[in-house]
């Protein structure tokens, strides 16, 4: 069960494809750990306000807020604002006001910091690292962004360091044509072709953007390195969230493979919305109870449910095989979709009390 997975862990990262219940699972894990005495903060990026308000908050902001969940420990929640976090980072690293304003005012920066693939992911890691450094919580639970490619965030710190180290930055940061000389022959041609393809104006804007960034690269590189260390630290646990649907499972299997490749600490799988049904029903008994027409409808409903239950069982067995029998917790398809504290508590029975546990070894 989750309690065992998170023993001596300080960071829990919930990952998976969109629509599998990542936000809900993250919140349920955080609430469950808080109910067991820990001081927990859950970081989410989900904009659905009802989750925030059901946690007793009108709205979540870029700062943690205490949730009145009546638990032994403490539950805190925040919603990541990627742009704000990025702005804060720039303010922190900028050597002077002029550089700070140049970056914050650059149009390319403005675009980069809001919605471009990768930046949200990186900022989630960044905030996680910051909170972990501050050490105010026993456990941090991160609900990763709902990117269609759920793996972007793993690459984010590495991509940023690579970019900072890259020669592209040097070209723009070395004054005048000296930068081009460093890169040797051929660069002149590249440059003139680039002008032809993109237009000089855009090139100049990019140049300005990279130049103003140059003064803070050292600090940011260091930071990206530390974020990377946190991801592979033994105090971190990755929990894969999935549904028993084929496409979600494919992504979960791929994701697991990537985590293993990168040597990241994988804890287990939470499979949400698993259809469950028992043995074939007894038509005569139902007909006796309900009469013919109603009994037929009930049987039809039950048979549909059983078909989906069979599919889910097979799909999850397949995933378990592919993952090499890693721990897995199944949460059944609950009657209502989970979006409030009561719903989260219902999930608790499965996540923590071992009701849904299968396949752990």
């Amino acid at each position: 069960m989750i309690g065992d997975w998170l023993e001596r862990k300080e960071v829990c990262i919930c990952a998976g494809s969109g629509g599998v219940g990542k936000t809900t699972t993250s919140a349920a894990i955080a609430l469950g750990m808080a109910a067991r005495g820990a001081k927990v903060a859950v970081l989410t990026i989900d904009p659905a306000r009802r989750l925030a308000s059901s946690l007793g908050l009108a709205e979540l902001g870029n700062e943690e807020r205490r949730v009145d969940a009546r638990v032994d420990g403490e539950l805190w929640a925040m919603m990541l604002d990627a742009k704000r976090t990025f702005d804060d980072l720039i303010e922190w690293h900028a050597p002077d006001e002029r550089t700070r304003d140049a970056v914050l005012g650059n149009r390319i920066y403005q675009e980069l910091s809001s919605a471009v693939a990768g930046s949200q992911e990186y900022m989630a890691m960044e905030k996680l690292h910051e909170l972990h450094q501050e050490g105010r919580y026993d456990l941090l639970v991160l609900d990763t962004p709902p990117t269609r490619n759920a793996l972007d965030f793993l690459d984010a710190p590495r991509r940023l360091s690579e970019f900072i180290d890259s020669r592209a930055l040097q070209v723009f940061t070395s004054p005048g044509r000296l930068g081009l000389k460093i890169l040797g022959r051929g660069t002149d041609i590249t440059f003139s072709l680039m002008k032809r393809a993109t237009g000089i104006d855009l090139l100049a804007d990019l140049g300005e953007f990279f130049r103003s960034f140059a003064d803070m690269t050292e600090g940011m590189r260091e930071r990206a390195g530390r974020v990377n260390e946190l991801l592979s630290d033994s105090r971190t646990a990755f929990v894969l969230v999935t549904s028993p649907r084929r496409d979600a499972l494919e992504e979960a299997a791929y994701f697991h493979h990537r985590l293993m490749d990168a040597g990241l600490p994988f804890a287990g799988v939470v499979a949400n919305r698993v259809h469950q049904a028992g043995a074939a029903t007894d038509p005569t008994q139902l007909t006796r109870l309900l009469g013919e027409p109603l009994a037929r409808k009930v049987i039809r409903t039950y048979e549909e449910e059983r078909r989906l239950a069979r599919r889910d069982r097979e799909n999850l067995a397949d995933l378990r095989r592919r993952l090499g029998r890693k721990p897995m917790i199944e949460v059944p398809h609950l009657q209502d979709d989970v979006h409030d504290l009561d719903g989260l508590r219902r999930m608790d029975e499965y996540l923590f009390a071992g009701l849904g546990q299968t396949g752990a070894e």
Binding site: E111, P146, L183, A197, L289, V298, Y302
Partner: protein
């Protein structure tokens, strides 16, 4: 036509069903995937689609747009020379720069989709009357739609600026581009759909043409029947009582769905069409045909 929505709501399925419907109505149609997920391939039971258009059924094609390939095509077009494009595309400097330039891969991706929708295409391939893009979910979907606007603004002159402007006005012209948002009749997808409509309007001046609510359970039991089932709950031998419980649970779910559907209808401007939940283990070609039939009746 742009198809977006929260993750996991069935965007690819709806995009494919819309494609089938358009093809049936005689339109040469291409469905474009943009995240290299190859889900269309699985739906149609074929191997990977790849970056070149592949015919699925008469008049219906599929393509999986790869940003790197789209970037190459764009370079070749700009420099009007495959050799020069090769020189530039092969340079490490250029690769780093384009990888780091925010939003560029979104721009070339939506640029490729735009090209597919043109009667005079810039890249080799068939001509289409309709390009349906199975866009990324909310945040990244909006980022993709916004990329041309951003680049049109950032680059004031030059070829990128010119093209970005053309693509941007094509996307924002309701006569050339339609937006379909896919949702599920549940709390969070409904909230996100309301949010998407608001942001499309505020940030891009685009309106949602239609919301397709996927996965509606049938309204199977009347209130009286449900009351009857409830009064009998817990009775009978295990298989029968399990069936009763399952029927009641589904009745409650269906009721919850309908109230979410009402909330959605109250809160958004766009008309809403619904699609039934298919109680099928996996969706395939024939289920898509069925969904296309449903859409045909509702659109």
């Amino acid at each position: 036509m742009v198809v977006t929505g929260k993750g996991g709501v069935g965007k690819t399925t709806v995009a494919a069903a819309l494609g089938l419907l358009a093809a049936r109505r005689g339109k040469r149609t291409v469905v474009c995937e943009v995240a290299e997920q190859e889900r269309l391939a699985a739906l149609f039971g074929i191997g990977d689609v790849g970056h070149s258009e592949l015919e699925l059924t008469p008049r219906l094609h599929a393509v999986s747009v790869q940003p790197d390939r789209a970037k190459e095509e764009w370079l070749r077009r700009q420099l009007k020379s495959a050799t020069l494009a090769g020189v530039l595309g092969g340079s490490r400097l250029f690769q780093y720069l384009t990888a780091a330039a925010p939003g560029l891969s979104e721009l070339v991706t939506i640029g490729k989709v735009w090209d597919l929708a043109q009667l005079e295409r810039r890249t080799a391939g068939s001509v289409f009357d309709l390009a349906i893009v199975d866009a990324p979910s909310t945040g990244h979907g909006l980022a993709m739609l916004r990329a041309p606007q951003t680049y049109a603004g950032v680059a004031r002159v030059g070829p990128i600026s010119r093209q970005a402007r053309i693509i941007d006005s094509f996307l924002r012209d309701p006569d050339s581009t339609g937006v379909v948002v896919v949702a599920l009749p549940e709390e969070m997808p409904v909230s996100e759909t309301i949010e998407i409509e608001r942001r499309l309007g505020d940030e891009l001046g685009m309106a949602v043409d239609r919301v397709v609510v996927n996965g509606m359970y049938p309204r199977r039991f009347s209130a009286a029947e449900a009351a009857r089932l409830r009064s009998l709950d817990g009775r009978g031998a295990p298989p029968a009582s399990a069936a009763l419980r399952a029927a009641l649970a589904e009745h409650e779910r269906a009721r919850g769905q309908r109230s979410q559907l009402e909330r959605l209808r109250r809160r958004i401007e766009a008309p809403v069409a619904t699609l039934p939940y298919l109680f099928e283990p996996e969706l395939g070609r024939r289920h898509l045909e069925r969904l296309a039939n449903e859409l045909e009746r509702r659109l």
